[in-house]
Amino acid sequence: MSSLLVFFLSSHIFLGIIAIAFFYSVTMNLLKREVNLFSFKRNSFGGLLAFILSWLTGGYYYVFYYGDNVKPIIKQGLYPWAHNFIMELKEHIFLYLPFLAFIVFIASYSMQDKLKENENLRKSLAMLSLTVFILGLLVAFMGIVISGAVKR
């Protein structure tokens, strides 16, 4: 594996974890009685940016390395389901995570005035952010399972 691919794979993982941490923070903030708007905007933006960068770096690694070099090893190994099922599932969830993150980010700007008076809106946004966090966590665990199936 070239050093660029090593860098992209590592960045994909670290950025994904940072994005999850941002959305954890957004969820916690939205659950407070008084939402810190600055923190809400900053963290949702940070989370979105990290998800997009993780998406791009992971996508590059997937297209230019995984398919030809890693997938055959997993499929020939003891745990072919790690690709056939887990990777397929991970791909699809991973594809729409930045879009969900984008909705939270847009809401942090467009709905900031309504957040204080409208508790239902705050709770709905907290649920959306929680969904992003839990899906992110799920994707991270699926990544661990897939990585575990690679053995030469």
Binding site: F14, L137, I144
Partner: protein
């Protein structure tokens, strides 16, 4: 560090000793620190902050609730403690994934990734995060959330350090559940004792 990272041929990489032998063979001098050591130090600091933060959060909240009133000062101290605890959690998770990257680049496979001690630790770390959210959402009361947080941090610490532990996933998780139940009754006992003294 970047130069080392760039010049490594990760196909030859095989855990800590071989990693260092490889660096030695290729005459790669690490000026600052290698990644394994960096992740290890961060992981230890994160766990110490997490377990220490969880312990102090418990001690301070019981201290604060002795007079059934939380003053502003006590509330601020608790906020700082929770902040430290979250930093610990973040450091633990990010350095933990750092280890996973090294394992993945070395193609260590199922022996490492599907190891029962490791999987139990991952589940417990996930419980720490979800428990904090459940407490914030008020899905579970503090009386249940606190022992879960405390025991989870100590369990993660023990599982991380006790490398020779060779028991099944179910045994570890069952022991963890038992410990949470014991901690729940123990903390409630202290709370009731505090209430009796204050009345």
């Amino acid at each position: 560090m970047y130069r080392t990272f760039k010049s490594l041929n990760f196909k030859k990489f095989d855990f800590y000793t071989e990693y260092h032998l490889y660096l030695h063979e290729k005459n790669i001098k690490i000026k600052i620190m290698d990644f394994y050591t960096l992740f290890k130090i961060s992981h230890i600091i994160g766990t110490v902050l997490g377990a220490g933060g969880a312990t102090f959060a418990e001690v301070l909240s019981y201290q604060a609730l002795k007079d059934k009133q939380v003053t502003e000062e006590e509330s601020n101290v608790l906020k700082i403690t929770f902040f430290i605890l979250r930093i610990g959690l973040f450091l633990t998770v990010i350095s933990g994934f750092g280890f996973l990257i090294l394992w993945r680049l070395g193609n260590f496979g199922p022996e490492y990734f599907y190891n029962e001690r490791f999987l139990s630790k991952m589940l417990i770390v996930a419980i720490i995060m979800l428990n904090a959210l459940a407490m914030q959402f008020k899905i579970i009361p503090t009386s249940i959330g606190s022992p879960i947080s405390l025991i989870s941090w100590y369990s993660a610490l023990i599982l991380g350090s006790w490398r020779s532990l060779n028991v099944s996933f179910s045994t570890i998780i069952l022991s963890y559940i038992v410990m949470v139940i014991v901690a729940y009754y123990f903390l409630n006992f202290i709370k009731n004792k505090n209430n009796k003294i204050s009345t």
